[in-house]
C-alpha cells in the first residue's frame, strides 16, 4: 500500500490546508495576543506547522511496517518511542539550524521554548500515529471489501460456468455410434448427422454462460438436438411444438432449454419402449416469457428422486442470472412430467 498522502491527491490538499489554517491561527494568536515579535512568531509557526507536518508524514512508514497484531504491545511502544525520539531529534536540530541566523547571541528564546517543543513533538507523534492507524485501517477495509467483491464475482462466474449445461458424453458417444452405423447403411444420412452434431456442439461451445440469445435461436438449437436424438430413438421420440410467433424475439439465457429436453429424453424416452411425446408450449405476457415442456414417462419403472442434478443446475443458473428465486416450476403428474421456465424480459414483448 502506498503512502496515503502521495497516493491520494485530495487527501494531500486537505492535509496542507488543515495545517495552513492551524498555522495561520497560531501566527495570529502569537502576534496579537501574546505580543511575540513577528519574526519569532513566524519562525515558531513554520517550525511547528510546516516542518513537523513534513517530517510527520513519514510516520506512516513506522505504522505501515508494524502490524500491531503481529508484534507484542511492549515492543510496539518501545519501537514508537524510539521512532518519536529520532523524529523529534531531527526536528529540533532543523529548528535550531533555521532559527540560529535570526536569534541574536545571548537570547534565551530557543532554550526556553525547547522543553515544550520536544514535549509537543512527542504529542504530535502520538496524534499522527492515531491518524495514520485510522487511515490504514480504513484503506485495508476498503481493499478487503473490494477484494471480496471481486472474489464473489469470480465465484459467481465459476458457478455459472459449472451450471451451464455441458454436452453429455453419453449423448455424444451414442450419437457417434449411430453415425458409425449409418456410414454402413446410409452414408448420406451419416453425413447429415455429422453436420447436425457439429452445428449443435458449436452452438453450445460458442456462447458463454451469461450470454442471452433470442428464443428463436435457442429453439432452433433444440430442434437440432432433437433431430439428432430422433436418429437414435426413431419413432419412440415424438416432439411437438406450439410456439406463438410473437414470443420468438424474447431473450433467454443460451443453452438453458437443452438440459430440460435431455432430461425429458433420459427419463421419458429412454426408460420406456413406447412412444413418448415431448410437448413444448409457450406464452408471453407483459414482461415474462413462460416456456412449458411436458413429457410422458413410465412411472412403474422409475422412482423419481425429485429434482435431478440437471434441473437443479438450471434452477441455480436462473437464480444467479435473474437474481430471483422460483423461476422454474416442476409438476409431476405421475404419468407426465412438466417443467415450466419463467423468463423475465427487459423489454415488454409486443
Amino acid at each position: 500500500m502506498n503512502h496515503p498522502l502521495t497516493n491520494n491527491y485530495r487527501l494531500l490538499i486537505y492535509y496542507a490546508l488543515f495545517w495552513a489554517v492551524i498555522g495561520v491561527t497560531n501566527l495570529i494568536l502569537l502576534i496579537f495576543f501574546y505580543n511575540v515579535p513577528f519574526t519569532y512568531s513566524l519562525l515558531d509557526t513554520i517550525s511547528t506547522f510546516v516542518i513537523y507536518p513534513l517530517l510527520g508524514s513519514s510516520i506512516w512508514y513506522s505504522i505501515r511496517y508494524n502490524n500491531p497484531e503481529e508484534i507484542t504491545i511492549g515492543r510496539l511502544i518501545v519501537f514508537h518511542f524510539i521512532a518519536a525520539s529520532i523524529l523529534c531529534g531531527i526536528w529540533v536540530t532543523l529548528i535550531y539550524a533555521i532559527f540560529k541566523p535570526f536569534v541574536p547571541q545571548g537570547n534565551d528564546f530557543l532554550k526556553n521554548t525547547l522543553p515544550s517543543k520536544i514535549f509537543g513533538g512527542y504529542v504530535m507523534y502520538a496524534v499522527y500515529l492515531i491518524f495514520f492507524y485510522a487511515v490504514n485501517y480504513y484503506q485495508s477495509l476498503k481493499e478487503k471489501v473490494k477484494k471480496e467483491g471481486e472474489y464473489m464475482a469470480l465465484i459467481r462466474e465459476a458457478e455459472l460456468q459449472a451450471l451451464k449445461s455441458q454436452i453429455n458424453p453419453h449423448f455424444l458417444f451414442n450419437s457417434l455410434n449411430s453415425i458409425s452405423s449409418l456410414t454402413v447403411s446410409d452414408p448420406e444420412k451419416a453425413q447429415e448427422m455429422v453436420i447436425n452434431l457439429s452445428t449443435f456442439m458449436r452452438y453450445s461451445l460458442l456462447h458463454n454462460e451469461k450470454e442471452m440469445v433470442a428464443f428463436s435461436r435457442e429453439l432452433e438449437n433444440i430442434k437440432l438436438y432433437l433431430s439428432i436424438e430422433k436418429v437414435r430413438f426413431g419413432k419412440k421420440l415424438n416432439a411437438e411444438f406450439e410456439i406463438d410467433a410473437h414470443c420468438l424475439d424474447a431473450e433467454i439465457p443460451n443453452m438453458i432449454l437443452q438440459p430440460l429436453f435431455e432430461n425429458a429424453i433420459k427419463y421419458g424416452v429412454y426408460e420406456t419402449t413406447d412412444q413418448v411425446t415431448i410437448k413444448t408450449t409457450c406464452e408471453c405476457d407483459g414482461n415474462v416469457l413462460k416456456i412449458t415442456i411436458v413429457n410422458d414417462y413410465d412411472h412403474s419403472t422409475l422412482k423419481r428422486k425429485g429434482e435431478g442434478i440437471g434441473l437443479r443446475n438450471i434452477r441455480k443458473r436462473m437464480e444467479i442470472i435473474y437474481n430471483q428465486p422460483d423461476l422454474m416450476k416442476i409438476t409431476d403428474n405421475k404419468t407426465s412430467f412438466e417443467v415450466q421456465l419463467i423468463i423475465p424480459q427487459k423489454q415488454a414483448l409486443s
Binding site: 458424453p169 453419453h170 455424444l172 458417444f173 451414442n174 457417434l176 455410434n177 449411430s178 453415425i179 458409425s180 452405423s181 449409418l182 454402413v184 447403411s185 436418429v231 437414435r232 430413438f233 426413431g234 429412454y270 426408460e271 420406456t272 419402449t273 412403474s300 419403472t301 422409475l302 422412482k303 428422486k305
Partner: protein
Amino acid sequence: MSEKLQTLIIEDEELARNLLRSYLKDQPEIEIIGECENGFDGVKAINEKKPDLVFLDIQMPKITGFEMIELLDYKPQIIFTTAYDQFALKAFELNAVDYLLKPFSKDRMLSAIEKVKHRIQNGEDTAEKLEELSNFRAGEEFIDRVVVKDRHKIHIITVDQIRYIESLDDYVMIYTNDGRHMKQKTMKFFENSLDPKNFIRIHRSYIVHVDHIAEIQQYEKESYIVILKDKDKTKLKVSKTGYKKIKETLHF
C-alpha cells in the same frame, strides 16, 4: 470349433443393432439367433434360447443390462456394450469381463469374440464373474429399485415399496405392499445397497423400512420386537445391535 456360436443381440437402439449385425454378417462362426430391444425381452430370450454369446447393452429401457444378469437362470458368455458409463467401466475392469465402448471398430469386436471362444474352449464358467459384477455395482451407490422375477413375469420394485426383507439361506424374501418376491441375493448385499436412512438391519434375518414400523415393543428383558403398520401387524424380532441401530436412526 465346428459348431457356430449362437449369438443374441440385446440393444435398444436400432442403428446400434444394425451395426453389430453388419459387423457379424460375414463371420462364419457366428449365428445370430435373435435380437431384443429391451431388457424384459432379453431375459426371456436368454432363458429360452440359451445362446452361447450375448451382446448386451447396459443402458436400456425398463431394466438395465446389469439388472438383467440378476434375472438369468442361464448365464451365457456376455460381451457388454456401452457408450459412456463410468460405473460400468470400473465394474468391467475389476471383473475382467469383455466390453466394447461405442463406437467400436469391427477389429475390436472380433478380438472380443476371440476371447469368448477361447473361454468356451477352456470350459470357463462365467456365472460367478457375472454375479460378482452385479454385486459390485450396487456397492457404489444406494440402489433405488430391485428387479425380481416370479415364474415368467419380471417386476420392478422401487425401494420405497419394500416393507421388509427376510433372509432365507441363499435367498431373500422381499415383502412389498402387494406381495412378496424371492431373490437370489444376500442380506449383506441389501444391507450395503439400501440407504441406511430408510432401511435398518434389525436382526440377522430382517431388514426393515423405517416408514413401515408402527411400534417397537419390549418382548423380554433386553429383547425387542418391531410391529409393522400392515393390517396383520407383522411382528419381527429385533437383535441387540438391531435395537441400537433403530435408536440411532430414529433418534429416540
